[in-house]
């Protein structure tokens, strides 16, 4: 593996995800992840600029920062890029009056926004407020608009609370998209504009920044698409067995053509993917992969290693792959050869 110093050359700024990186949220605010308070303190002492880039949409920015400070983190409100304030800017700019499907904890962020006679819907992680009645109300508002606008604060699939994995706003956003036949505008990771605004506020160019997060699609993929470097931590949602969801499993060339699940197992040590560096091209070949919405794509691409993880189910190492230049989740790779192309 290349030395850390080499991979981090030129980095001037660090963007940090919060949930799953600094702390695991949950009852009573959650718990800090061991070592993260000290790690943040070290970062702050270094020459690096630090900013927080979160999709937190259950708590207001003030509440979140208060909670983290109570846990011992060195963080202030001005350092946090959060989707609710960003959404308020958009609403004001475009003269939109939202129907809010949100958690009570974040309502204060929208105190200055006119919500009478709504002409759009804003959806955030509403938690317990995701009832059938509330979903239906939002649906009815959208169906009555000539030009339905749905703004979603992030589009995460799920996140980890101390009590287990919870559905995130993305699932409910998809429900409304499907019901109304529309596409939501996402404010939050992995939208490129969101990362860019965070970089701007930090005063760092994308090639000089690294994103640290626990979500391979929202954090790592999104940041890479913006030209940033990215690092996935093995805490938060990563450490759960369920990460196979966002983990792209590579298939061994010797896998049965039926596509039965069989993770790639490195047989030939001379090109063990586990020894490759993230970002390194693993092989070139034809792959069949399925995009999140189910479209199947088959094309010749260079496939790049994005991560490796020990499967908690099989105990074997499974590899994350992405097509160079894009970030798609691969379901199956066929008739491909493993080789390191540099």
């Amino acid at each position: 593996m290349a030395a850390w110093s080499e991979r981090l050359a030129g980095v001037r700024g660090v963007l940090l995800d919060i949930s799953g990186v600094l702390h695991d949220s949950g009852e009573g605010g959650g718990v800090p992840i061991p070592g993260s308070v000290e790690a943040l303190a070290r970062l702050k002492r270094s020459q690096l600029k630090v900013r927080f880039c979160t999709n937190e949409s259950q708590k207001s920015r003030g509440d979140l920062v208060g909670l983290l400070r109570h846990m011992g983190f060195d963080i202030s409100e001005g350092e946090v890029t959060a989707p609710a304030p960003a959404t308020c800017l958009i609403l004001k700019e475009r003269g939109l009056r939202p129907h809010l499907l949100i958690h009570d904890g974040i309502r204060s962020e929208f105190a200055q926004i006119d919500t009478s006679n709504p002409n759009c819907v804003v959806i955030a992680d509403a938690g317990e407020s995701f009832s059938y009645q509330n979903m239906n109300k939002a649906f009815q508002v959208l169906m009555e608009l000539d030009n339905p606008v749905l703004i979603s604060l992030g589009k995460g699939r799920y996140y980890k609370e101390t009590s287990g994995l919870m559905l995130d706003v993305g699932a409910y956003t998809k429900a409304l998209e499907y019901a109304c036949g529309i596409k939501a505008e996402v404010v939050g990771k992995p939208a490129p504009g969101y990362f860019q605004s965070a970089l701007q506020e930090m005063g760092v160019e994308s090639h000089e920044a690294i994103m640290i997060g626990d979500d391979i699609v929202g954090d790592v993929g999104g940041a890479q698409r913006c030209g940033m470097r990215a690092l996935q931590v093995r805490t938060g949602k990563f450490s759960s067995a369920a990460d196979e969801d966002s983990e792209m499993i590579a298939w061994c060339p010797s896998a049965k053509p039926s596509g039965r699940k069989r993770p790639a197992v490195c047989k030939n040590r001379s090109f063990c993917p586990a020894c490759a560096d993230p970002g390194q091209t693993l092989f070139q070949g034809r792959g069949v992969y399925e995009q999140p919405l189910g479209q199947r794509v088959q094309e010749e691409r260079r496939w790049v290693l994005t991560g490796a993880t020990q499967s908690s189910l099989t105990g074997r190492t499974e590899f994350g792959l992405g097509a160079a230049g894009t970030f798609s989740r691969i379901k199956r790779l066929r008739a491909s050869r493993w080789c390191l192309l540099g």
Partner: protein, 258 residues
């Protein structure tokens, strides 16, 4: 397409074709009687997520239709069959009125999720439970995926959006068992011993009834009752249809040329 053979079985849609809510389509009873007078087998097929077979039967009997319970095949039956075939213990997110159709199915310690239209179950805690089961590898069985339906107080979300939410969160695909799925029609025919080429489907939904039936090699007849006036098929879609009739009862000249 396989060569067409003699007609042996007729599948008839219920809501919109034989009856609309609590009223029979005028003349439908006689039409059914005439059909009974021939040698073809008749099955009644419908997409329902909240009415058990027994409820359907009672309603049809009230409307004086001559129908027996074993002739009815619903999306709930299809879901039950799939649950039995997979030998799983489902978490049932269906309306309480549909539960009789799942009598005898073991539901404790669930390892599958069956999802229909159940507004009282579609909330955060229950959906989280379903989500966690799915992440553990439980199969997701959807009765159907309708986007919304009409209620007295306006439009209301159907099961489709919630199925989509769970699909997105877990990156899986639900097995949909209702019309227009191929397996639905094949399962409905199973008891008759007929091949799809020997059967015809009569319904008011151009996509779910006629289109679905044609996909498995059956003929489809579209009646102009029920949802037809609200969702008229486009001319392009019409060309594909075998036959269009004003209603089940009136023996109009079939638009065979279409």
């Amino acid at each position: 397409m396989a060569a067409r053979r003699a007609l042996k079985a007729v599948l008839v849609d219920l809501n919109g074709t034989l009856h609309i809510e609590d009223a029979a389509v005028p003349g439908a009873q006689e039409a059914l009687k005439r059909l009974r007078g021939t040698s073809v087998m008749v099955r009644f097929v419908t997409n329902t997520t909240k009415e058990s077979k027994q409820d359907l039967l009672e309603r049809l009997k009230k409307l004086e239709f001559d129908i027996s319970e074993d002739e009815i095949f619903t999306s709930l039956t299809a879901a039950r069959n799939l649950v039995e075939q997979k030998q799983v213990r489902p978490m049932l997110l269906v309306d309480d009125r549909a539960l009789p159709d799942f009598k005898g199915i073991q539901t404790s310690d669930p390892n599958a999720v069956v999802i229909g239209l159940a507004p009282e179950h579609f909330h955060y805690q229950i959906l989280n439970q379903a989500f966690r089961l799915l992440l553990d590898g439980a199969p997701l069985i959807a009765i159907h995926k309708a986007r919304y339906y009409k209620r007295k107080d306006g439009l209301a979300l159907g099961p489709g959006p919630f199925v989509t939410a769970l699909e997105y969160a877990t990156d899986t695909k639900a097995t949909v068992v209702g019309k227009p799925e191929k397996t639905f029609f094949l399962e409905a025919l199973r008891g008759t011993g007929c091949e799809p080429e020997e059967a015809v489907m009569i319904g008011d939904d151009c996509r779910d009834d006629v289109g679905g039936a044609q996909n498995v090699g059956m003929l489809g007849i579209l009646v102009q009752t029920g949802m037809y006036p609200l969702h008229k098929p486009s001319l392009k879609q019409m060309v594909k249809y075998t036959c269009l009739k004003n209603s089940l009862c009136r023996n109009d000249k079939a638009h065979g040329a279409l």
